[in-house]
């Protein structure tokens, strides 16, 4: 399972960074979304990967399989924030397309 998660994060990150560096605004926003997925998975995996464990930590819980609840709450926050930021970026993207007439990130150049 660790390998699957690690490879998944790696693939998401690689694809995200590649798309982020592309010249079209739509590619950039997809790249940012993929990076977000990678980061969210990364945060979750930082609480150690546990299958079927309850999200509780505390005294007397030795031996039981438990998942660390803090990264789960962190990842919720980060999902909400990244999601809304992506939505905001989409608005800027559309405004830029409307004002410059092209979808190039620099606002000049041929439309795709």
């Amino acid at each position: 399972m660790e390998v699957v998660v690690a490879v998944g994060i790696g693939v998401f990150t690689a694809a995200g960074v590649y798309l982020l560096l592309r010249p079209r605004t739509f590619q950039v926003i997809i790249g940012l979304s993929l990076l977000t997925y990678a980061v969210n998975l990364f945060i979750l995996s930082m609480g150690r990967l546990v299958v079927g464990g309850a999200p509780v930590l505390g005294a007397g819980s030795e031996g039981a399989t438990l998942a660390d609840p803090v990264p789960q709450s962190l990842v919720l926050t980060s999902i909400v924030i990244s999601f809304s930021m992506t939505a905001l970026f989409l608005v800027v993207l559309l405004a830029s397309r409307g004002l410059t007439g092209t979808d190039h990130v620099d606002g000049d150049g041929e439309p795709a």
């Binding site: 982020l20 977000t36 962190l74 970026f89 800027v92």
Partner: protein
């Protein structure tokens, strides 16, 4: 510390008040400008008052205290705490003072040029104050996002092709930086199991070498995020374009935003590894190299830029670079001087951004045509051109002369000439650098202190040449331009900030004593640790 009644809640005021006021103002219609203006002004004034009151508490001559405010009354490290020490309160005060000036300035014209200006402006102040006050790493991320979200909106305020283009780059860069922030935070959590900064410092000292490697990796990724915010070279190419595209009052508050990055580097750098070299964590020689490169890049940029707002953007870089370079020494007296420089240069750059617009009004191009609205309710406001109504302002007598005088004063401040605080700040900072020479920059080569001094002085010269050229071009070389129309509401904040700059020069001794105490507090953070994590395990 003697805070009776509601006073302990003062710490939360600079965060909660703008949030509540900003949210409440969403209910008001865009046309209720007067009500919105009054609420906003009241809010920033109260925030400044709260920050001043806090300043008296944390700098109490008999019992200086660090005020720890436990949100939800959960003690650290389980709950989130707000920590008001000298550094945090100083930054909150600077933010809100500049915020008040920018708000007054915006009331004259900018606030009416687009929807929801007041709410966004108050939210950015809330985010900044929160980022300075919080004692929790993930909470810091949340406040970062609050201030960034507000800054995205504010940058686009007034719309126009240039702003949207700059905004696109700005949002993309900062979203990527936020990812780095998250990766760093989660690595730090994975290694230490805590997000509270004080607890982090305690836990980090107990880690074995294997875990330490990962912690340092995490903190380095975090550091990249902060360096993007502070505009350190080579992560700063977006900054001058963005700042020069923003509306004047927005650009003024953006001047504080770069200081958030510097603040966090300073805070985390001094908190972790308290004994030994303060900023060892970020590899102070790396930080010095990055800082010096930023100064050099900013100096060339300021010389090369043809328009004033762009030059002001590069000045922001020079200010950040200088701060990063000198705080990397980790020496208390150097940090004291650096903080004095931070206050002066932030306010100075803020005034310059405000002046940029007033000055450039003299040779304004004819209206550039109406801007297409993005949202349906933009129609009421956005269809007015940005330059429409410029003539309607009262033409103050001697306005041009006063503008020139203000520009001259700001230039003196930013170059670092007497009598303004820029000179005192650079002198205090560089003298401390040379005094601490061998020991402050121990991680680098022996002549490093001289390199730092040389670069800072040379950048001052570059700023002098650049600002002199701009001043001559603006005020002397075009004698037949019409007199500038300046509204009283626009002159007031400029005068207000200039008075503050003069005041911290005249009262340099008490101010420097405060900064020195702040530096000393950062160098030996035991008081911070004990305040957040009471030795007895809390109540």
């Amino acid at each position: 510390m003697n805070l009776g009644g509601l006073a302990p809640h003062l710490v939360a005021v600079p965060i909660l008040l703008p949030l509540v006021a900003g949210a409440a103002m969403l209910l008001l219609h865009e046309r209720q400008r007067r009500a919105k203006g009054v609420i906003s002004l009241l809010t920033v004034t109260l925030s400044v008052a709260a920050a001043l009151r806090l300043l008296l508490v944390v700098d109490d001559p008999l019992t200086p205290a660090i005020v720890v405010y436990r949100l939800g009354d959960w003690g650290a490290p389980f709950g989130i705490v707000l920590v008001a020490d000298r550094l945090a309160v100083l930054m909150v005060l600077v933010t809100n003072a500049l915020g008040a000036a920018g708000m007054i300035y915006a009331l004259a014209r900018w606030a009416t040029l687009g929807p929801r200006f007041h709410t966004l402006y108050l939210l950015i102040l809330m985010g900044l104050s929160g980022a300075f006050l919080t004692g929790d790493l993930f909470n810091l991320y949340v406040f970062f996002e609050v201030l960034l979200a507000a800054s995205y909106g504010l940058l686009l305020h007034g719309s126009g092709k240039r702003r949207v283009k700059a905004g696109l780059h700005y949002v993309a860069v900062n979203l990527a930086a936020s990812m780095a922030f998250l990766v760093g935070v989660s690595l730090v959590y994975a290694m230490t199991g805590t997000l509270n900064m004080a607890d982090l410092a305690v836990k980090a000292a107990q880690l074995g070498p294997d875990e330490l490697v990962f912690l340092k990796a995490g903190l380095s990724v975090l550091g990249v995020a902060f360096l993007v915010k502070s505009g350190a070279w080579p992560l700063s190419f977006w900054l001058p374009t963005t700042y020069s595209a923003a509306a004047a009052p927005v650009a003024a508050i953006f001047a504080v935003m770069t200081k958030v990055g510097v603040y966090v580097v300073l805070r985390l750098g001094t908190l972790m590894w308290p004994e030994g070299h303060a900023l060892e964590l970020y590899g102070s020689s790396w930080l010095i190299a990055v800082g010096l490169a930023t100064i050099v890049y900013g100096s060339f940029g300021v010389l090369a830029s043809t328009e004033l707002p762009r030059a002001a953007g590069y000045l922001t870089l020079i200010s950040s670079g200088t701060l990063l370079t000198v705080i990397a020494s980790g020496d208390a007296s150097v940090i004291g001087g650096a903080l004095y420089y931070l206050v002066g240069s932030t306010l100075g750059i803020g005034v310059l951004f405000l002046l940029c617009e007033l000055v450039s009004r003299r040779n304004v191009a004819p209206p550039t045509g109406a801007v297409e609205p993005v949202f349906s309710d933009d129609y009421e406001t956005a269809l007015h051109s940005e330059f429409e109504g410029v003539e309607l302002g009262v033409t103050l007598p001697l306005a041009t002369t006063l503008l020139a005088a203000a520009f001259f004063l700001v230039a003196l401040q930013l170059v670092g000439f007497p009598p303004l605080s820029g000179f005192v700040a650079k002198f205090a900072m560089l003298k401390a650098v040379l005094d601490s020479g061998a020991d402050g920059y121990a991680n680098g080569p022996a002549a490093l202190a001289w390199w730092v001094v040389g670069t800072v002085v040379a950048s001052g010269f570059a700023v002098l040449v650049a600002l002199m050229r701009k001043g001559v071009k603006q005020f002397w070389a075009e004698p037949d331009t019409t007199p500038t129309a300046v509204r009283p509401f626009e002159a007031l904040p400029v005068a207000f900030l200039l008075v503050i700059l003069m005041a911290i020069t005249v009262f340099a001794q008490p101010v420097m004593r405060y900064m020195g105490a702040t530096g000393a507090g950062l160098e030996s953070p035991m008081q911070y640790l004990h305040s957040v994590l009471p030795p007895g395990g809390g109540e």
